[in-house]
Symmetry: C2
Amino acid sequence: MERLKQAIRERGNVLSSEVLKVDTFLNHQVDVELMGAVGEEFARLFKDDGVTKVLTIESSGIAPSFMAATNLNTPLIFARKKKSLTMNENVYVSQVYSFTKRETNDITVSKDFITAEDTVLIIDDFLANGQAALGLIDIVNQAGAKVAGLGIVIEKSFQDGRKRLEEEGYRIESLARIHELEAGRVTFIDELVTNNN
Amino acid sequence: MERLKQAIRERGNVLSSEVLKVDTFLNHQVDVELMGAVGEEFARLFKDDGVTKVLTIESSGIAPSFMAATNLNTPLIFARKKKSLTMNENVYVSQVYSFTKRETNDITVSKDFITAEDTVLIIDDFLANGQAALGLIDIVNQAGAKVAGLGIVIEKSFQDGRKRLEEEGYRIESLARIHELEAGRVTFIDELVTNNN
Protein backbone atom coordinates (compact mmCIF):
# COMPACT_ATOMS: atom_id res chain seq x y z
CA MET A 1 0.00 0.00 0.00
CA GLU A 2 1.90 2.99 -1.31
CA ARG A 3 0.38 5.64 1.00
CA LEU A 4 1.27 3.56 4.02
CA LYS A 5 4.84 3.01 2.87
CA GLN A 6 5.16 6.74 2.26
CA ALA A 7 3.95 7.44 5.83
CA ILE A 8 6.48 4.92 7.21
CA ARG A 9 9.29 6.54 5.21
CA GLU A 10 8.36 10.13 6.03
CA ARG A 11 6.84 9.89 9.50
CA GLY A 12 8.31 6.67 10.92
CA ASN A 13 11.38 6.74 13.12
CA VAL A 14 13.96 3.97 12.85
CA LEU A 15 15.29 3.56 16.40
CA SER A 16 17.47 0.53 15.70
CA SER A 17 17.81 -2.35 13.25
CA GLU A 18 14.86 -3.98 15.04
CA VAL A 19 12.63 -1.10 16.17
CA LEU A 20 10.51 1.15 14.00
CA LYS A 21 8.52 3.77 15.88
CA VAL A 22 5.30 4.83 14.20
CA ASP A 23 3.62 6.74 16.98
CA THR A 24 3.14 9.73 14.67
CA PHE A 25 0.38 7.97 12.70
CA LEU A 26 -0.43 4.55 14.13
CA ASN A 27 0.08 3.72 17.78
CA HIS A 28 -0.14 6.92 19.77
CA GLN A 29 -1.19 9.69 17.42
CA VAL A 30 -3.44 8.15 14.77
CA ASP A 31 -3.75 9.44 11.21
CA VAL A 32 -7.41 8.42 11.05
CA GLU A 33 -7.68 9.11 7.34
CA LEU A 34 -4.75 6.77 6.60
CA MET A 35 -5.91 4.14 9.13
CA GLY A 36 -9.38 4.36 7.61
CA ALA A 37 -7.85 3.57 4.21
CA VAL A 38 -5.85 0.71 5.77
CA GLY A 39 -9.04 -0.76 7.21
CA GLU A 40 -10.82 -0.40 3.87
CA GLU A 41 -7.96 -2.25 2.18
CA PHE A 42 -8.25 -5.15 4.65
CA ALA A 43 -12.00 -5.27 3.98
CA ARG A 44 -11.36 -5.36 0.21
CA LEU A 45 -8.79 -8.16 0.54
CA PHE A 46 -11.09 -10.37 2.65
CA LYS A 47 -14.47 -9.38 1.20
CA ASP A 48 -15.15 -12.82 -0.31
CA ASP A 49 -14.09 -14.87 2.71
CA GLY A 50 -17.30 -14.92 4.71
CA VAL A 51 -15.85 -12.95 7.61
CA THR A 52 -18.31 -12.67 10.54
CA LYS A 53 -16.01 -11.06 13.14
CA VAL A 54 -12.90 -8.91 13.08
CA LEU A 55 -10.56 -9.63 16.01
CA THR A 56 -7.66 -7.43 17.09
CA ILE A 57 -5.74 -6.66 20.27
CA GLU A 58 -5.78 -3.49 22.34
CA SER A 59 -4.76 -0.76 21.83
CA SER A 60 -2.94 -0.18 18.58
CA GLY A 61 -4.98 -2.70 16.61
CA ILE A 62 -8.26 -0.85 17.12
CA ALA A 63 -7.76 2.09 14.75
CA PRO A 64 -6.66 0.08 11.68
CA SER A 65 -9.49 -2.42 12.32
CA PHE A 66 -12.32 0.07 12.64
CA MET A 67 -13.06 0.62 8.94
CA ALA A 68 -12.32 -3.03 8.15
CA ALA A 69 -15.17 -4.13 10.42
CA THR A 70 -17.34 -1.25 9.20
CA ASN A 71 -16.91 -2.19 5.54
CA LEU A 72 -17.23 -5.94 6.19
CA ASN A 73 -20.37 -5.15 8.22
CA THR A 74 -19.16 -7.17 11.22
CA PRO A 75 -18.53 -6.44 14.89
CA LEU A 76 -14.98 -5.64 15.97
CA ILE A 77 -13.63 -7.43 19.04
CA PHE A 78 -10.47 -6.29 20.75
CA ALA A 79 -8.72 -8.82 22.95
CA ARG A 80 -7.90 -7.46 26.39
CA LYS A 81 -4.33 -7.63 27.62
CA LYS A 82 -5.42 -8.24 31.19
CA LYS A 83 -8.70 -9.04 32.79
CA SER A 84 -10.73 -6.14 34.10
CA LEU A 85 -12.85 -6.33 37.21
CA THR A 86 -16.07 -6.15 35.21
CA MET A 87 -15.09 -9.10 33.00
CA ASN A 88 -16.11 -12.41 34.51
CA GLU A 89 -14.32 -15.71 34.02
CA ASN A 90 -16.23 -16.60 30.87
CA VAL A 91 -13.17 -15.96 28.70
CA TYR A 92 -10.74 -17.55 26.30
CA VAL A 93 -7.17 -16.91 27.45
CA SER A 94 -3.86 -17.09 25.63
CA GLN A 95 -0.38 -15.87 26.53
CA VAL A 96 1.57 -13.36 24.47
CA TYR A 97 5.17 -12.35 25.02
CA SER A 98 6.03 -8.83 23.90
CA PHE A 99 9.68 -8.39 22.89
CA THR A 100 9.22 -4.60 22.86
CA LYS A 101 7.82 -4.45 26.39
CA ARG A 102 9.72 -7.52 27.65
CA GLU A 103 6.69 -8.93 29.42
CA THR A 104 4.14 -11.69 29.04
CA ASN A 105 0.48 -10.74 29.02
CA ASP A 106 -2.59 -12.87 29.24
CA ILE A 107 -4.86 -11.86 26.39
CA THR A 108 -8.53 -12.59 26.91
CA VAL A 109 -11.68 -12.62 24.80
CA SER A 110 -15.14 -13.20 26.22
CA LYS A 111 -16.68 -16.50 25.13
CA ASP A 112 -19.84 -14.55 24.33
CA PHE A 113 -18.29 -12.96 21.26
CA ILE A 114 -16.63 -15.76 19.27
CA THR A 115 -18.38 -19.08 18.66
CA ALA A 116 -17.82 -22.14 16.47
CA GLU A 117 -19.99 -20.55 13.75
CA ASP A 118 -17.63 -17.60 13.27
CA THR A 119 -15.11 -16.88 10.54
CA VAL A 120 -12.62 -14.45 12.02
CA LEU A 121 -10.34 -11.91 10.35
CA ILE A 122 -7.42 -11.15 12.69
CA ILE A 123 -5.88 -7.69 12.35
CA ASP A 124 -2.80 -6.32 14.08
CA ASP A 125 -0.54 -3.30 13.73
CA PHE A 126 2.76 -5.21 13.55
CA LEU A 127 3.91 -8.69 12.63
CA ALA A 128 7.39 -9.43 13.98
CA ASN A 129 7.89 -12.73 15.78
CA GLY A 130 4.22 -13.55 15.44
CA GLN A 131 3.56 -13.81 19.18
CA ALA A 132 0.43 -11.66 19.20
CA ALA A 133 -0.91 -13.26 16.01
CA LEU A 134 -0.38 -16.76 17.40
CA GLY A 135 -2.15 -15.78 20.63
CA LEU A 136 -5.15 -14.45 18.69
CA ILE A 137 -5.21 -17.57 16.47
CA ASP A 138 -5.10 -19.71 19.64
CA ILE A 139 -8.19 -17.90 20.92
CA VAL A 140 -10.07 -18.40 17.63
CA ASN A 141 -9.12 -22.08 17.74
CA GLN A 142 -10.31 -22.40 21.35
CA ALA A 143 -13.68 -21.09 20.15
CA GLY A 144 -13.75 -23.71 17.38
CA ALA A 145 -14.08 -20.88 14.87
CA LYS A 146 -12.35 -20.49 11.51
CA VAL A 147 -9.48 -18.07 10.83
CA ALA A 148 -10.12 -16.23 7.54
CA GLY A 149 -6.58 -14.87 7.63
CA LEU A 150 -4.41 -12.16 9.08
CA GLY A 151 -4.37 -8.51 8.10
CA ILE A 152 -1.13 -6.84 9.18
CA VAL A 153 -0.38 -3.14 8.86
CA ILE A 154 3.43 -3.39 9.07
CA GLU A 155 5.39 -6.60 8.70
CA LYS A 156 9.00 -6.82 9.81
CA SER A 157 9.87 -9.39 7.20
CA PHE A 158 13.36 -9.85 8.66
CA GLN A 159 11.78 -11.53 11.68
CA ASP A 160 10.19 -14.96 11.54
CA GLY A 161 6.51 -14.26 12.25
CA ARG A 162 5.34 -14.70 8.65
CA LYS A 163 7.28 -17.95 8.28
CA ARG A 164 5.72 -19.42 11.41
CA LEU A 165 2.20 -18.48 10.37
CA GLU A 166 2.64 -19.67 6.78
CA GLU A 167 3.95 -23.01 8.03
CA GLU A 168 0.66 -23.41 9.86
CA GLY A 169 -1.20 -22.63 6.66
CA TYR A 170 -2.55 -19.16 7.43
CA ARG A 171 -3.09 -16.48 4.81
CA ILE A 172 -1.27 -13.24 5.65
CA GLU A 173 -1.97 -9.89 4.01
CA SER A 174 0.60 -7.30 5.09
CA LEU A 175 0.16 -3.80 3.70
CA ALA A 176 3.82 -2.85 4.18
CA ARG A 177 6.61 -5.43 4.31
CA ILE A 178 9.93 -4.24 5.68
CA HIS A 179 13.06 -5.99 4.46
CA GLU A 180 15.51 -4.04 6.56
CA LEU A 181 15.88 -1.20 9.06
CA GLU A 182 19.34 0.24 8.84
CA ALA A 183 21.08 3.55 9.42
CA GLY A 184 17.77 5.29 10.02
CA ARG A 185 16.38 4.03 6.70
CA VAL A 186 13.56 1.64 5.83
CA THR A 187 13.84 -0.76 2.90
CA PHE A 188 10.64 -2.46 1.78
CA ILE A 189 10.56 -5.93 0.23
CA ASP A 190 9.04 -4.71 -3.05
CA GLU A 191 11.83 -2.16 -3.45
CA LEU A 192 14.24 -5.10 -3.54
CA VAL A 193 12.23 -6.69 -6.35
CA THR A 194 12.27 -3.41 -8.27
CA ASN A 195 16.05 -3.18 -7.87
CA ASN A 196 16.45 -6.64 -9.39
CA ASN A 197 14.52 -5.74 -12.52
CA MET B 1 -28.78 9.92 21.26
CA GLU B 2 -31.68 7.52 20.93
CA ARG B 3 -29.84 4.67 19.16
CA LEU B 4 -27.21 4.67 21.87
CA LYS B 5 -29.78 4.60 24.66
CA GLN B 6 -31.54 1.72 22.93
CA ALA B 7 -28.25 -0.21 22.76
CA ILE B 8 -27.63 0.44 26.48
CA ARG B 9 -31.16 -0.76 27.34
CA GLU B 10 -31.08 -3.84 25.12
CA ARG B 11 -27.44 -4.87 25.13
CA GLY B 12 -26.08 -3.34 28.34
CA ASN B 13 -25.83 -5.37 31.51
CA VAL B 14 -26.53 -3.72 34.86
CA LEU B 15 -24.20 -5.51 37.29
CA SER B 16 -24.96 -3.32 40.31
CA SER B 17 -26.27 0.15 41.17
CA GLU B 18 -22.86 1.49 40.14
CA VAL B 19 -21.67 -0.76 37.32
CA LEU B 20 -23.04 -0.94 33.79
CA LYS B 21 -21.27 -3.42 31.53
CA VAL B 22 -21.35 -2.51 27.84
CA ASP B 23 -18.80 -4.93 26.46
CA THR B 24 -21.32 -6.12 23.88
CA PHE B 25 -21.02 -2.92 21.85
CA LEU B 26 -18.43 -0.54 23.31
CA ASN B 27 -15.48 -1.77 25.32
CA HIS B 28 -14.69 -5.32 24.25
CA GLN B 29 -16.90 -6.15 21.28
CA VAL B 30 -17.48 -2.93 19.33
CA ASP B 31 -20.59 -2.19 17.29
CA VAL B 32 -18.59 -0.19 14.76
CA GLU B 33 -21.67 1.13 13.01
CA LEU B 34 -23.05 2.55 16.27
CA MET B 35 -19.64 3.82 17.44
CA GLY B 36 -19.20 5.41 14.00
CA ALA B 37 -22.50 7.25 14.52
CA VAL B 38 -21.38 8.26 18.04
CA GLY B 39 -18.17 9.71 16.62
CA GLU B 40 -20.10 11.57 13.91
CA GLU B 41 -22.36 13.06 16.58
CA PHE B 42 -19.35 14.34 18.56
CA ALA B 43 -17.98 15.88 15.36
CA ARG B 44 -21.33 17.58 14.69
CA LEU B 45 -21.52 18.98 18.24
CA PHE B 46 -17.99 20.44 18.12
CA LYS B 47 -17.77 21.33 14.42
CA ASP B 48 -17.64 25.10 15.05
CA ASP B 49 -15.11 25.02 17.87
CA GLY B 50 -11.86 25.03 15.93
CA VAL B 51 -10.81 21.57 17.12
CA THR B 52 -7.28 20.67 15.93
CA LYS B 53 -6.80 17.39 17.86
CA VAL B 54 -9.04 14.73 19.33
CA LEU B 55 -7.63 13.22 22.53
CA THR B 56 -8.86 10.03 24.18
CA ILE B 57 -7.45 7.30 26.41
CA GLU B 58 -6.69 3.71 25.53
CA SER B 59 -8.42 1.38 24.86
CA SER B 60 -12.16 1.95 25.00
CA GLY B 61 -12.00 5.59 23.93
CA ILE B 62 -10.48 4.79 20.53
CA ALA B 63 -13.53 3.35 18.73
CA PRO B 64 -15.98 6.17 19.61
CA SER B 65 -13.30 8.75 18.72
CA PHE B 66 -12.36 7.39 15.33
CA MET B 67 -15.14 8.94 13.26
CA ALA B 68 -15.10 12.12 15.36
CA ALA B 69 -11.49 12.76 14.32
CA THR B 70 -12.23 11.62 10.77
CA ASN B 71 -15.15 14.04 10.38
CA LEU B 72 -13.34 16.92 12.13
CA ASN B 73 -10.37 16.21 9.87
CA THR B 74 -7.92 16.06 12.79
CA PRO B 75 -5.47 13.50 14.15
CA LEU B 76 -6.62 11.26 17.01
CA ILE B 77 -4.29 10.86 19.97
CA PHE B 78 -4.80 8.16 22.53
CA ALA B 79 -3.15 8.65 25.89
CA ARG B 80 -1.18 5.61 27.02
CA LYS B 81 -1.90 4.10 30.42
CA LYS B 82 1.72 3.20 30.99
CA LYS B 83 4.89 4.07 29.22
CA SER B 84 6.12 1.64 26.61
CA LEU B 85 9.79 0.95 26.00
CA THR B 86 9.71 2.69 22.63
CA MET B 87 8.31 5.91 24.14
CA ASN B 88 11.03 8.21 25.37
CA GLU B 89 10.73 10.63 28.26
CA ASN B 90 9.37 13.46 26.12
CA VAL B 91 5.88 13.08 27.60
CA TYR B 92 3.19 14.83 29.57
CA VAL B 93 2.13 12.67 32.53
CA SER B 94 -0.96 12.71 34.72
CA GLN B 95 -2.32 10.24 37.25
CA VAL B 96 -5.72 8.60 36.95
CA TYR B 97 -7.38 6.42 39.58
CA SER B 98 -9.77 3.81 38.20
CA PHE B 99 -12.54 2.85 40.63
CA THR B 100 -13.46 -0.09 38.39
CA LYS B 101 -9.94 -1.52 38.32
CA ARG B 102 -8.96 -0.18 41.76
CA GLU B 103 -5.59 1.01 40.57
CA THR B 104 -3.79 4.23 39.73
CA ASN B 105 -2.26 4.55 36.28
CA ASP B 106 0.09 7.12 34.88
CA ILE B 107 -1.38 8.34 31.62
CA THR B 108 1.10 9.79 29.17
CA VAL B 109 0.97 11.77 25.94
CA SER B 110 4.03 12.59 23.87
CA LYS B 111 4.91 16.29 23.86
CA ASP B 112 5.28 16.00 20.09
CA PHE B 113 1.53 15.74 19.57
CA ILE B 114 -0.10 18.50 21.62
CA THR B 115 1.26 22.04 21.60
CA ALA B 116 0.10 25.45 22.83
CA GLU B 117 -1.48 26.11 19.41
CA ASP B 118 -3.94 23.20 19.74
CA THR B 119 -7.64 23.18 20.56
CA VAL B 120 -8.41 19.73 21.89
CA LEU B 121 -11.66 17.77 21.99
CA ILE B 122 -11.45 15.15 24.74
CA ILE B 123 -13.52 12.00 24.21
CA ASP B 124 -14.06 9.13 26.63
CA ASP B 125 -16.37 6.14 26.88
CA PHE B 126 -17.61 6.82 30.44
CA LEU B 127 -17.91 9.80 32.75
CA ALA B 128 -18.34 8.72 36.36
CA ASN B 129 -16.13 10.42 38.97
CA GLY B 130 -14.33 12.36 36.26
CA GLN B 131 -10.90 10.94 37.06
CA ALA B 132 -9.94 10.10 33.49
CA ALA B 133 -11.39 13.35 32.14
CA LEU B 134 -9.48 15.42 34.72
CA GLY B 135 -6.27 13.56 33.85
CA LEU B 136 -6.73 14.29 30.14
CA ILE B 137 -7.57 17.96 30.89
CA ASP B 138 -4.43 18.15 33.03
CA ILE B 139 -2.37 16.96 30.06
CA VAL B 140 -3.95 19.51 27.70
CA ASN B 141 -3.24 22.23 30.29
CA GLN B 142 0.38 21.08 30.65
CA ALA B 143 0.71 21.58 26.89
CA GLY B 144 -0.72 25.10 27.20
CA ALA B 145 -3.45 24.07 24.74
CA LYS B 146 -7.16 24.86 24.87
CA VAL B 147 -9.89 22.35 25.81
CA ALA B 148 -12.77 22.63 23.34
CA GLY B 149 -14.89 20.41 25.58
CA LEU B 150 -15.59 16.82 26.50
CA GLY B 151 -17.49 14.28 24.45
CA ILE B 152 -18.73 11.43 26.63
CA VAL B 153 -20.46 8.32 25.34
CA ILE B 154 -22.14 7.30 28.63
CA GLU B 155 -22.46 9.56 31.65
CA LYS B 156 -23.29 8.11 35.06
CA SER B 157 -25.10 11.23 36.15
CA PHE B 158 -25.52 9.86 39.70
CA GLN B 159 -21.77 10.26 40.20
CA ASP B 160 -20.07 13.62 40.54
CA GLY B 161 -17.87 13.79 37.43
CA ARG B 162 -20.07 16.24 35.53
CA LYS B 163 -20.40 18.52 38.55
CA ARG B 164 -16.61 18.68 39.01
CA LEU B 165 -15.99 19.45 35.35
CA GLU B 166 -18.76 22.04 35.11
CA GLU B 167 -17.42 23.79 38.20
CA GLU B 168 -14.17 24.22 36.33
CA GLY B 169 -16.07 25.67 33.37
CA TYR B 170 -15.78 22.84 30.86
CA ARG B 171 -18.43 22.06 28.27
CA ILE B 172 -19.64 18.45 28.46
CA GLU B 173 -21.60 16.70 25.73
CA SER B 174 -22.79 13.28 26.93
CA LEU B 175 -24.73 11.19 24.43
CA ALA B 176 -26.47 9.09 27.09
CA ARG B 177 -26.99 10.33 30.66
CA ILE B 178 -27.90 7.71 33.22
CA HIS B 179 -29.92 8.81 36.22
CA GLU B 180 -30.05 5.44 37.94
CA LEU B 181 -29.04 1.81 37.68
CA GLU B 182 -31.39 -0.31 39.73
CA ALA B 183 -32.77 -3.83 39.74
CA GLY B 184 -31.14 -4.57 36.41
CA ARG B 185 -32.74 -1.54 34.79
CA VAL B 186 -31.33 1.70 33.38
CA THR B 187 -33.15 5.02 33.83
CA PHE B 188 -31.95 7.91 31.69
CA ILE B 189 -32.14 11.56 32.78
CA ASP B 190 -34.39 12.58 29.90
CA GLU B 191 -36.85 9.83 30.77
CA LEU B 192 -37.31 11.56 34.15
CA VAL B 193 -38.14 14.82 32.39
CA THR B 194 -40.66 13.02 30.19
CA ASN B 195 -42.27 11.47 33.25
CA ASN B 196 -42.69 14.90 34.82
CA ASN B 197 -44.53 16.32 31.82
